[in-house]
């Protein structure tokens, strides 16, 4: 078990290393790759908070992503809000949606596949609503006007976006590090591993799961806002479609759920793989989803604890502390 200082030190090193990339390179390819990979890290880490540490597998994290994206776009276009102000607003809106969906699902004790289905259904409902109501631009979507300036969160070079998303990733990493070394995190992991046992020692599962949902949703909302800011366009398919949900959960699962660096590794690895295959197969639309699916199957079969679990596994073996845990009792 690493200490809080350990985790913070590693996060600082990570931020420093990645933050220096735009300083040493102004190649569009490198910056673009860094930015999109960091964005993938952000959504994987957001999912990891609820899925990895809370054991609540959401199949509809696009729900929070899309809500953040629309809130961010609408606040700027309709109300003329500065994007630096609408970013927290977007996070707040995603958080509010998280509160409603979380309260409804956990209040009625939905777990496992039921929770997964409910989140999936909610995301679909939001997608359909977004296609039909006028203030989201319906099927046409919303186009953010181009007004390039740092004050307007529209940067001349990709470097600005790299630093922006790096800031959000850092926030996600800090939240995760806090989960690893706090009372709340201990309670959350206890509920994940065995809800009845947690209740017997005084943990309120409803409260704990709901709070984790809020954290996860807010970060996902930030990712949505970031997306809109970079691509300056959002429509119901992008916002609430399954693509983002899948990318978030695959990144976290492949990398290693319930670890600090797993989702970062997973998102990065998948991103490399997707880029590589895109070069091999040309612009075959949706080829990255095929890859994600294949990798997910392989990882679940052969590395159930993800890439991060690989390191832990060999380390434990090296210590000779016997066979790795098979998990004992499966969390229900």
């Amino acid at each position: 078990m690493s200490t809080p200082r350990h985790d913070l030190l590693r996060i600082a090193l990570f931020v420093l290393a990645v933050g220096l990339v735009p300083v040493f390179s102004n190649s569009g390819v490198v910056l673009n790759f860094t930015m999109t990979a960091l964005y993938a890290c952000l959504i994987a880490q957001a999912w990891n908070i609820l899925g990895g540490y809370g054991g609540q597998f959401s199949f509809g994290h696009a729900l929070f992503f899309g809500t953040g994206a629309y809130a961010h776009a609408i606040a700027q276009m309709q109300w003329g809000l500065n994007p630096w102000l609408s970013l927290p607003l977007a996070m707040g809106m995603a958080l509010a949606v998280g509160a409603c969906v979380g309260a409804a699902s956990f209040r009625y004790g939905l777990k496992g596949s039921y929770f997964a289905l409910v989140t999936l259904a909610f995301a679909e409902v939001f997608r359909i609503v977004a296609t039909s109501v006028p203030f989201t631009g319906a099927g046409v979507g919303l186009m953010l006007p181009l007004r390039e300036s740092a004050a307007n969160m529209q940067f001349a070079s990709r470097a600005g976006y790299v630093w922006l998303v790096l800031g959000l990733v850092t926030l996600a990493l800090l939240v995760t590090a806090w989960l690893r070394h706090s009372r709340f995190g201990a309670c959350l992991q206890a509920v994940r591993d065995n809800e009845d046992a947690a209740r017997a020692v005084g943990v309120d599962p409803l409260r704990v799961k709901l709070l984790a949902t809020l954290l996860s949703a807010a970060l996902m909302g930030a990712a949505g806002a970031f997306y809109v800011q970079v691509f300056q366009y959002i429509d119901p398919g992008i916002a609430y479609g399954p693509h983002t949900s899948v990318e978030a959960l695959v990144g976290a699962i492949v990398g290693g759920m319930g670890t600090l660096w797993g989702p970062v590794l997973g998102a990065l690895g998948l991103h490399l793989l997707a880029d590589l295959t895109r070069n091999l197969f040309g612009q075959l639309p949706g080829i990255n989803m095929v890859i994600y699916g294949a990798v997910l199957v392989l990882i679940v079969m052969f590395l159930p604890r993800g890439i991060a679990g690989l390191g832990q596994f060999t380390w434990r073996q090296g210590l000779g502390s016997g066979r790795p845990p098979s998990g004992g009792k499966e969390p229900s």
């Binding site: 009372r183 309670c187 591993d193 009845d196 209740r199 017997a200 005084g202 845990p325």
Partner: protein, 264 residues
């Protein structure tokens, strides 16, 4: 014993599952500072009664009063905060976490600081003899180790009443002999303990008060000696007509038949 206020007061509890009456009209009072035991054959409803007391199940009828406060059907997490904690017969470790982290979850009930909770976990592990295993994963412990962990995690919540569900079950005689002083130590430290035991012999030397449950009903209560010589108890364990036969044999020549109750 003085007739002070009971720490836990169960009044006419009823619970049925479909047609099965798991607990019928059970009333009992647990006095503070004591170690008492609830015994009975398999399927007697002991664990159901525990679940009703701790809030995991809602009784059909009846009342659960803890320290003068009505806690009937109150959620287990709230009961834990009041000082009523249970363990599980089928141990429920947080398997992917270390022993230290497991116990710390219990300690967090009253301690917000992670460092303090981890320190408290170490102290509790010492108390139940788990100190050498602190950094092992809970899933790697032996059955005896897991029973201790179950106990430790509950103890870390600083309970006033500890409900122990068969902490001795599945242990070998050697392990039982090691576990008994641990339980006694807990009582000495001021925690009231109510334990479920299927193995009668184990609790005979421990408990000051024993209730016997059979087919959902209380059939006897009293000191261990009183209970084991009770005809209804002997029959519940050994079958209908046994008490009569034993008495006849005892009247004949055999020294004492009460020990037969322990054979179950």
């Amino acid at each position: 014993m003085s007739t002070g206020q009971a720490l836990l007061d169960i009044r006419q509890l009823h619970k049925s599952f479909g047609g099965l009456k798991a607990v019928q009209d059970v009333s009992l009072q647990v006095m503070p500072g004591q170690l008492s035991a609830l015994i009975g054959p398999n399927g007697a409803g002991k664990t159901t009664l525990f679940a009703l007391m701790s809030g995991f199940l809602r009784p059909d009828r009846g009342q659960v009063v803890f320290d003068g406060q009505d806690i009937t059907a109150q959620a287990p997490e709230r009961n834990a905060r009041l000082g009523l904690t249970r363990t599980f017969q089928i141990v429920q470790p947080f398997a992917a976490q270390t022993v230290r982290e497991n116990i710390a979850v219990g300690a967090h009930l009253h301690l917000a600081s992670r460092a303090q909770a981890l320190a408290q976990a170490e102290a509790v592990a010492q108390q139940v003899g788990l100190a050498p295993q602190l950094d092992k994963l809970a899933g790697e412990l032996t059955v005896a180790g897991r029973k201790r962990l179950e106990l430790a995690r509950a103890l870390a919540t600083r309970p006033r009443l500890l409900l122990l569900d068969e902490v001795l079950a599945g242990l070998n005689p050697q392990e039982i002999a090691e576990m008994i002083p641990v339980v006694q130590g807990i009582v000495r430290s001021g925690v009231t303990v109510l334990m479920i035991e299927h193995v009668m012999q184990a609790v005979m030397g421990l408990a000051s008060q024993v209730w016997v449950l059979a087919q959902g009903q209380l059939i006897a209560q009293g000191t261990p000696a009183e209970v084991t010589s009770h005809p209804a108890v002997v029959e519940a364990y050994l079958g209908h007509g046994t008490a009569e036969r034993l008495r006849q044999r005892a009247a004949g020549a055999a020294p004492h038949a009460t020990g037969a109750g322990a054979a179950a």
